[in-house]
Amino acid sequence: MTEKAFIRGKAVHCALGEEVGSVVAAMRAHQCQTTEVPLSLINLDYARPYYRLPVKDGDPPPNSEAFFYTVLFRTVEKAIADAGLQPHEIEEMPIFFGSTSIDIPLYEETYRTASNVLSQTSSGYGNIANEIARHLGVKAGCYTFTTACTSSANGVLYASAMMGQGAFDRALVVGYDLFSNLGFYGFEALKLIAPPPYRPFDKQRMGVIMGEGCGAIVLDRYRRDANDFYCLGGANACDTHSVTTHDPEGHAIAAVMREALASAGARPEEIDVIKAHATGSYHNDLTECNGLKQVFGDHLPPVTGLKPFVGHTVGACGAIELVLLSEAAKAGFVPATLGFETPDEELGVVPMTDDLAIESGTFLLNYFGFGGNCVSLVVSNRD
């Protein structure tokens, strides 16, 4: 990149709340909250945990179209207000939207009484980004990424790369995935959902706990505050091992981390903290740790995983976890991996068990998904 892409504005709506300050405070207090969701749609008498969004008085009911757009528009409006954008800046700002479920939550309730609703009424994957554009009065382009759990990480990757090449002065990146029965029952069908507590990298880890949320980031060519983070580089690559799991040796994951570091002009020893993808599934954690050991060898920086705070927010995790990590660091810490207790010798990686005091640094963020999609980002707030 020739120009930097600074995080000028941000907002997040997740299981810990919808104000960045209170979410960061909750992370510092090591809070998390899951809800038990019954599998009653298919007449089963048990429930599974999920990190649901808190609903405020006066909000539309969850699972409604009004709720979908309320959460989305409120979050992007907060990010824009935080960035202090002028109307003409908003108008010229392209939108990079990433999601796994896209608009499926809008249609699911109708399936209780009807069939083929999506194929009869959906306006396509690009529609939600277009709705954001209409709502904000954006006249620039809309880019929608649907690469499973790396979706909004790819949005950050391309928004910062195109800005780095001078294509525009600022961009809005949005990661959004609300609860959908398709995702919830689908993950349970794959036997991937774990009971609480969520414990990535732990010897007793039992899988994923899903979450819903929205993260919005305004990237800008110009720095506003001295400690604002900027995107130094990143990479995307495909691991063709399997559609559901990555090569357990971690070669593809190591390759994407190395490419990200090279694009950022950073050496492994310059990384202060790694935000691992850390889904908590047996295979994913093993693969990621093998990849980390290939890149960093015996000099692995502190590693943390953020999913125990907000759940695995699938396609939204790229934007959400970038906001959580960078805002926690600006508040003086990187949180420990909540829920971790017992090291797993097979992994050979022990994540942070205590918060790390840090105010500035260069961070590597990993995101991996179904379909072999691998993304690593490098961000920094050092000059």
Partner: protein, 290 residues
């Protein structure tokens, strides 16, 4: 961005999936037992494009689509809501449309960038922008980029989406791909320009500044109005109208289809493809065929 090959698989939908599996098996030895229509469509176009080409392992895959994997999404929702059972795992995994770009990469053993991407009615054009960004950055030197969509069978949806009469179109489905390289050597053509315009006036201004060395063909996206077409026609008085939607049929990746069908023509020529989205934004692709 130089075009080194193209591959096209477009036609009326066939109900029997065996038809697609047999087609794809001509190009790849991998077995796609659990692949669905969208995956097989993707492979049918991409494998044709890559066939007998020298393709490096770090070649990127950029799959652009308007609707992605509708079929399996409907199946999974039906399994949950009507049959009241867990979705079949592979139906569920196939609801994620990037499984198609994964299978393209796996079948061709490509480890580079892998993107599944959409941009309401401008997916192929915006996908080319992403590829251009990666090529400028040096992270990609070769790529397969395609537009893939199943046919629309919903009259209601089609007419609500486009404000066009469903009966006026022959509905097809397809998968149209380009092999793009940074290297010009032995190229058959190039993507000259991909540009967005806020309104028709700005588009016409751009057209007025273009110089052409080859015969010009002009093609339009589905939302380009008759008045827009007339204005573009005045700005390009010597251009020949190229109408792949009328000649071949419509599916939501029609802009990709316009490019690959243009490349099938004999002789050198230039294609100006004008597209328009629901927000009234125009995008143009200028494609040169040597």
């Amino acid at each position: 961005m130089y075009i080194h090959n193209h591959g096209t698989f477009v036609g009326r939908p066939v109900a029997d999936m065996k038809y697609y599996k047999e087609d794809v098996s001509r190009y790849t030895r991998l077995h796609f037992r659990r692949a669905n229509r969208f995956v097989l469509l993707s492979l049918a176009g991409a494998c044709r494009c890559a066939h007998e080409q020298s393709i490096k392992k770090n070649t990127g895959v950029y799959l652009t689509t308007e609707n992605g994997n509708l079929g399996d999404t409907e199946t999974v929702l039906h399994q949950i809501y009507q049959m009241r059972q867990f979705p079949m795992p592979y139906n569920f995994i196939n609801t994620m449309s990037n499984t198609a770009s994964f299978y393209v990469a796996q079948s061709l053993e490509l480890l580079g960038r892998n993107m599944t991407f959409s941009s309401k009615l401008l997916s192929f054009e915006r996908g080319l922008e992403l590829l251009h960004c990666d090529m400028v950055a040096g992270s990609v030197n070769e790529a397969l980029i395609g537009g893939v969509d199943e046919a629309s069978f919903s009259k209601t949806q089609f007419e609500a989406k486009f404000d066009r009469r469903y009966e006026d179109y022959n509905m097809v489905e397809g998968s149209c791909w380009l092999l793009i390289k940074k290297d010009a050597e032995r190229a058959m053509g190039e993507i000259g320009v991909i540009a967005a315009f806020a309104d028709l006036g700005k588009l016409l201004g751009w057209i007025g500044r273009q110089a052409f060395e080859r015969p010009v063909f002009v093609a339009h996206g589905i939302l380009v109005d008759p008045e827009d077409k007339k204005a573009v026609g005045h700005a390009l008085p010597d251009a020949t109208l190229f109408d792949p939607i009328g000649d071949i049929g419509y599916f939501d990746s029609a802009p990709a289809s316009a490019v690959t069908h243009f490349l099938q023509r004999d002789g050198g020529a230039c294609l100006i493809h004008v597209n328009k989205d629901t927000r009234g934004q125009f995008m143009v692709m200028r494609v040169e065929k040597y």
